[in-house]
């Protein structure tokens, strides 16, 4: 459903993403991994239109996405979360989800006035469901900035889900989480996929990505160096070198910790 062909993004001399080919099939959980600075976030930003590609194409359901602004790609069915959580800190939890009521269904079924100036019963019910799924019902009127870190992550996840996406791009959703939270997150990701959403998961936490992803692509210096099932990738020589080659002490190891 998502096809990246020859996708490149250069920042001056830095080839953040270089001639990248990736195909994500409908209904799968696709893992995108790689050392720090290998171009994972840049790839996400290219897919959802935050960055303009230097070359190459992004196709979603066969449709060319190049040149479309982020809000149009969202309405086409591509939602995302951010590596550094980006909520609306001075809005309440409820308002954060209210702003995100922009799914094609919302737009098609609601008139201009009720969409912008009302809050129909359906909207309220939808938000209530999202809150419940995120275990945030009791925080509805809290300012987003007052939430604990884990709650902020769950809110951002719920805010992306509000768009009723077909494809969800998660940029390091497990960063900073403890083991229990990671297990909770992997349940949420699976539940999301089971409801019919395809998932592109960028992650350093191998325990999570090796556990949930069916297909994985590995980036290094903006290029794809390997792809396949988690098993294939873990055995791949080039991948092991890319990871071991990073001098960074907290560089992710391929050890799933299991």
């Amino acid at each position: 459903m998502l096809e990246l062909r020859g996708l490149s993004k250069h920042f001056g001399g830095v080839k953040a993403v270089d001639e990248l080919d990736i195909t994500v099939n409908e209904g799968e959980i696709f893992g995108l991994i790689g050392p720090n600075g290998s171009g994972k976030s840049t790839t996400i930003n290219l897919i959802c239109g935050v960055y303009q590609e230097t070359a190459g194409t992004v196709r979603f359901h066969e449709e060319l996405m190049n040149g479309k602004p982020p809000h149009q790609r969202l309405r086409a069915g591509i939602a995302r979360t951010f590596q550094n959580i980006r909520l609306f800190p001075n809005l309440t939890v409820w308002q954060n989800l209210w702003v995100a009521q922009n799914s094609p269904q919302d737009i098609a079924t609601q008139g201009f006035l009720s969409r912008w100036f009302g809050a129909t019963r359906r909207t309220r019910k939808e938000i209530a469901t999202l809150l419940e799924l995120a275990d945030l019902e009791h925080k509805s009127d809290e300012l987003a900035s007052n939430l604990a870190f884990g709650e902020q992550r769950r809110l951002e996840f719920a805010r992306a889900a509000a768009a009723r996406p077909k494809l969800l791009l998660l940029d390091e959703p497990a960063a900073g989480m403890n083991r229990q939270e990671i297990q909770d997150l992997s349940r949420r990701i699976r539940r999301m996929r089971d409801s019919g959403v395809t998932i592109l998961l960028v992650e350093h936490v191998m325990e999570l990505v090796m556990g949930v992803a069916e297909q994985i692509a590995v980036l290094n210096f903006g290029q794809k160096i390997a792809s396949g099932t988690p098993g294939d990738v873990q055995r791949n020589k080039a991948v092991q070198e890319a990871y071991l080659g990073t001098s960074d002490s907290d560089a992710p190891s391929l050890d799933t910790g299991a």
Partner: protein
Amino acid sequence: MSYYLGLAQLIGIHTLLGLSAYVLMLTGQLSLGQAGFFAIGAYSAGILTVIFELPILPALLAAAVIAAFFAFIVGFPALRVKGLMLVVATIAFGEFVRLFFFNLSWRVPRGDIEVGPDSTNGFREIRYFVANGWSPWEITTFVWTFVILVMIALWWMDRSRAGAVLRAVGEDELATQSVGVNLTAVKVTAMTAGGFIAGIGGALYAHTATYVDHLTFTVLLATFAVSYPILGGLSSVFGTLVAVIFIQGVLVEGLRFLGDWRNIVFGLLIIIAMNLKPDGLFDARTTRILRRAIGLGGREKSDA
């Protein structure tokens, strides 16, 4: 009495000016061009009642629409610049408008005299209220009708999803786009609404003052426009009203004896106030506390 009514009119008109900046500020845009839209409203309404001899109400609404139209046009290029660059660009727009009216001469004979904008000499014959025998009370009521209507509309908008979206844009443009909001549409709409409100203010100003010239619409006026919501905070429209009453009613009037020193005191007070209360006189927390105090409870939007 008429002194106080005049002051009440001025406070009402400046509240409109401040609210026009408030709408934009919700989306994180600081415009020093609001005096330009105010000027367009003032001159347009004056021309419509004086040269075209329209009644005040249609003239005022048409003037607001004209100001909104220019705000819409300005909105697109303004999208491309942010922060300080936007401030500079909007100052340039305001000055452009001012210089346009500085040069505008459109005189038509009316009996023995000529009326209409007379470039440097200003536009001196905006006497609709006097000519139609309106009392100061009636004029004040007329002005405040619009102030109250605009405040109700904005207060209602603020509590709606539209208000949440405007604030979301003000907090994080990228995140707002990423949840499916058309940023261009939202920002241009805010700009247009701000132009409309400033246009109403300008139209009312021209008719209460009966006389305008380009010097009325300098950057100083634009500075007042933004200082109201800055001081009053962005929690609600009432902050802007309170700030106008404080600045126009207490500072400008109360410190008249200081002469030109007033401006320095005014500047100092704004700096002090902004440092003491960076979120305005009524920051979000204070508003919550006040809400609870008057029994509105702490629940905000989930029951809206």
